[in-house]
């Protein structure tokens, strides 16, 4: 309940404030968002499995975002930023899909 409210509050805040993305953050923000989504779906799956732990959630969330940003940063420095971002997105996408599959099994038993 509160978790859903939090999501709503975040979206409304973003819509209302409409902040400019700082230039240094621009390449990392999309990847970070996808990494965070991965963490969120992982947490939801863990919750439904009954093994949710808020500490694990926070740590996995922060580390996901940081590692994604780090990979992109490293890729940019190595000159393969575009390809590496694509790779990260693909991996995270696969993970999100598998998590969503598990969540679906829990909620719809299908």
């Amino acid at each position: 309940m509160i978790a859903g409210l939090g999501l709503l509050v975040g979206v409304i805040l973003g819509l209302m404030l409409q902040p400019e993305v700082p230039l240094w953050l621009e390449p990392y923000l999309p990847i970070a968002v996808v990494a965070a989504l991965d963490a969120v779906f992982g947490a939801l799956r863990a919750f439904l499995d009954g093994i949710f732990d808020d500490k694990v959630f926070v740590i996995s969330f922060v580390s996901n975002v940081l590692i994604a940003a780090l990979i992109v940063y490293l890729g940019d420095k190595l000159g393969v930023g575009g390809q590496l971002s694509t790779g990260v997105i693909v991996v995270l996408g696969i993970r999100i899909f598998s998590n969503v599959t598990a969540i679906r099994r829990h909620i719809f038993h299908a």
Binding site: I2, A3, L5, G6, V9, G14, L37, L48, D54, G82
Partner: protein, 245 residues
């Protein structure tokens, strides 16, 4: 109570909010929602090159500069073609102009174009009917000698290179047309020279006004002699132009 299913856990947490785990999840979800909305909006606003990587920008710049290079090449090619075409038209126009001028000159000489200009009008009266082609030919020859450019007899026959004269019953036959006295000779050329040419000693005027013929000649100098009679140009049947290199 056995191990609750995922669905039951979800429902329970919806009914009893407030646990520490839920608040943590709420905060992190707010962060995710905020970040995604910001990114979506930045992405939609980013129709220019603001968010692009350095290498992409470099590539873009390269492709743009090569495209502009191509366009410039095309421009210079087209400009060259244009100037070629222009000079082509110019020279063609000059040739056309020259040909037109030449055809005008030749038309006047050949009698296929009407002509107007300064000249003289000679009226020959022949009360005794003694004027023949000898006198007329003589006069024409003298006029030509004096630079006559177009000659017309009695406002009905144009005298050109092919003109032939014959004695007729009541006058003279010029190109099959019978002319009767008084004869009018209209000539375009320098009026003074033409008049002088007819007036020379024992020339045309002397000849006709002499006692043998007993005619009279009136010469009028005019700044505007009009010659309207035309001849049909003939296609040479036997003569062909010599091919020149």
């Amino acid at each position: 109570m056995s191990e609750p299913t995922g669905r039951e856990r979800l429902l329970r947490s919806l009914k009893r909010p407030g646990s520490r785990g839920q608040i943590t999840a709420a905060v992190l979800l707010a962060v995710v929602g905020f970040a995604s909305v910001v990114q979506v909006q930045a992405n939609e606003r980013n129709d220019d090159y603001e968010g692009m990587r350095e290498e992409d920008l470099v590539q873009l710049l390269n492709s743009l500069s090569s495209a502009s290079q191509r366009a410039e090449n095309e421009i210079s090619e087209l400009e060259q073609t244009r100037s070629e075409l222009r000079s082509d038209t110019d020279s063609r126009q000059a040739a056309l102009e020259q040909a037109r001028e030449r055809s005008t000159v030749l038309g006047i000489l050949a009698g296929t174009l009407p002509a107007v200009g300064p000249g003289i009008v000679v009226t020959v009266k022949d009360p005794q009917g003694n004027v023949g082609i000898d006198q007329v030919l003589n006069g024409l020859q003298e006029l030509r000698d004096a630079g006559a450019e177009a000659i017309e007899l009695n406002s009905s026959v144009r005298v050109v290179a092919q003109t032939a004269l014959e004695d007729g019953e009541n006058g003279i036959l010029v190109d099959e047309t019978e002319l009767t006295p008084p004869y009018t000779i209209e000539v375009i050329g320098d009026p003074h020279t033409l008049a002088e040419a007819l007036n020379i000693y024992s020339g045309f005027v002397d000849d006709i006004e002499g006692t043998d013929i007993g005619g009279s000649v009136v010469i009028e100098e005019s700044s505007n002699v009009e010659i309207a009679t035309l001849t049909e140009p003939l296609d040479p049947e036997y003569a062909e132009p010599v091919e020149s290199e």
